[in-house]
Subunit: 362 residues, 2 copies
Amino acid sequence: MIDNVVAPDQAASFSLAIDAMGGDDAPEIVVAGLDLAADRHPGARFLLFGDEARLTPLLARYKKAAQIAQIAHTTEAITMEMRPTSALRLRDSSLRMAITAVADGRARGVVSAGNSGALLALAKILLKTLPGISRPAMAAVNPSARGDVVMLDLGANISCDARNLVEFAVMGEAFSQAVLGLPAPRIGLLNVGVEELKGDERLRCAADALRASPLSAQFLGFVEGHDITAGTADVVVTDGFTGNIALKTGEGALKLAAQLLQQIFKTNLLTKIGYILVRPGLRRMREWIDPRQYNGAVFVGLNGIVVKSHGGADAEGFASAIDVAMDAVDNEVNKKIRSRLKQIQFLQEAPDTYESGAPTPD
Amino acid sequence: MIDNVVAPDQAASFSLAIDAMGGDDAPEIVVAGLDLAADRHPGARFLLFGDEARLTPLLARYKKAAQIAQIAHTTEAITMEMRPTSALRLRDSSLRMAITAVADGRARGVVSAGNSGALLALAKILLKTLPGISRPAMAAVNPSARGDVVMLDLGANISCDARNLVEFAVMGEAFSQAVLGLPAPRIGLLNVGVEELKGDERLRCAADALRASPLSAQFLGFVEGHDITAGTADVVVTDGFTGNIALKTGEGALKLAAQLLQQIFKTNLLTKIGYILVRPGLRRMREWIDPRQYNGAVFVGLNGIVVKSHGGADAEGFASAIDVAMDAVDNEVNKKIRSRLKQIQFLQEAPDTYESGAPTPD
């Protein structure tokens, strides 16, 4: 298996760099996920960063993974609990080296199930933001009654100003086009009401800028919390604080519904028979809203594709995160962002006018 | 039915003043809701503000409502679309006169299914906030896996500072004690993570103040979006922007789950039989998470109980809003808030230190 080890300075063209040591059950889950990805992306090549002594026997077991992956040995790993400032100090962590491979042009994107804060901090430092983007955002796909919806920011930025929100709209459009294949996604700005006067100055200012931009035909204006799962918009734009809480609240509500259903089906013999009759449909429903299927949040707005898998993801979940990264790489999400940015006046003129992130009182 | 008309200057002691003209299907739904409330609150007396010519025939039809309600004639009504500034100009609106009845001591609380913005604006002006409270908040009860959870603010304040959040915790505790009967509700502050360093300065400052307060034993620290439906806390405290979006996102997710279930049960003959077998349980589940049952958001922190029913509520929903108002009145939520406020150092000392509502970048 020594053939799978690549020297750090060996230039090569890889689809993705993979942080093998990040996540609750790394590195086994990561290698098992690669094994699943091998069937879906037969032409892809992956550069696997981590402890060679642990990865070599895993690749011996997961033979399909071994065919598409090469090991790049690293001596350190960032734990899930480590603070970003401590994580940054490690010079040879699997995460840092995987991101470095993207910065060096050896890989086009990176996937990690590790520490989110460290991933974002290292990606910002090593890859830098795209020209014209002030802050990267965390974007992911969520289920709705009318198909998949892209939501961003999901937590990369606790506070955002109007300019950030407009940038998120641009990045969300490109992400939706690249990953979901929608030619002209409809964009909504998350607010407490749909009327133009709702929310704060920051939201009204971002809405005005989008209405005056080339995105105007796709811009629906303000949308509300229930619009996320209703699928009113294809892209839901919000600040990282609200987005993170909305995402987790929606997941929690679906979990509550599932728990209640389970209780109902367990009530007595008749309900158990009822369960057997509807089981195939329930299985489809579960698959459809399965968080594993939606695993893989992307930090958009950086010079390179950066995908965060859930730390507790299983092999199937990690493979989904690889799917997202491959879609973003293959469909050139960053090229789409750059060309759209050039068209938006708001982001070229007088950005300082809108720098305040402070919401005004209603 | 002329006996049901009370002259505006006639002093009387009423449990609640009711805005008969507010809501999508007012005044009929309001009177029908009172009819249901008559059985649940036989000793209560209601003062019904609205157009006598329309209310008199309704009370003739809803005989139980007629037994507990008296009409107070008003000549104007605030529409759902009216902006608060326009609504404030109407001197004889049913909403204004109903709130005035509370301000005058003729009624102990008010219930309206009308314009939320106008209700909040008029209530602030006519009732004023409780001593020691800087801003009222909108609170409501929501379902969770471990029982009912109080959440506030749900939209009264788009931006909030640390002081506001601490006040919301105090008001949420009193609301939970009065309406849900919990002696020592556990309080959580909504954030993007549970670690002490998460969120912005405003949240960390509010958390520090609560840890140093007599509420410390009940304070769980930060909770996340999924904790709302998990029932981790009995009271979830957040700003009005986030709270409004979290509430609607959770409702939307439950609606999505219900739609998916409906599709599954309709698939074929077997699934239809399955539906019949689990129908009683599904009905209980639907009742349990029925938004009508949770109708009735309270504007807490004012000198008087102010309850907002959903504008589209039916008679059952309006009756639930009356239940909430009666619980708040009977269990003296405001007395509980006042006595707790006296114990909180943070709110008496140096409030100016924490006045900034601006979140800091992470």
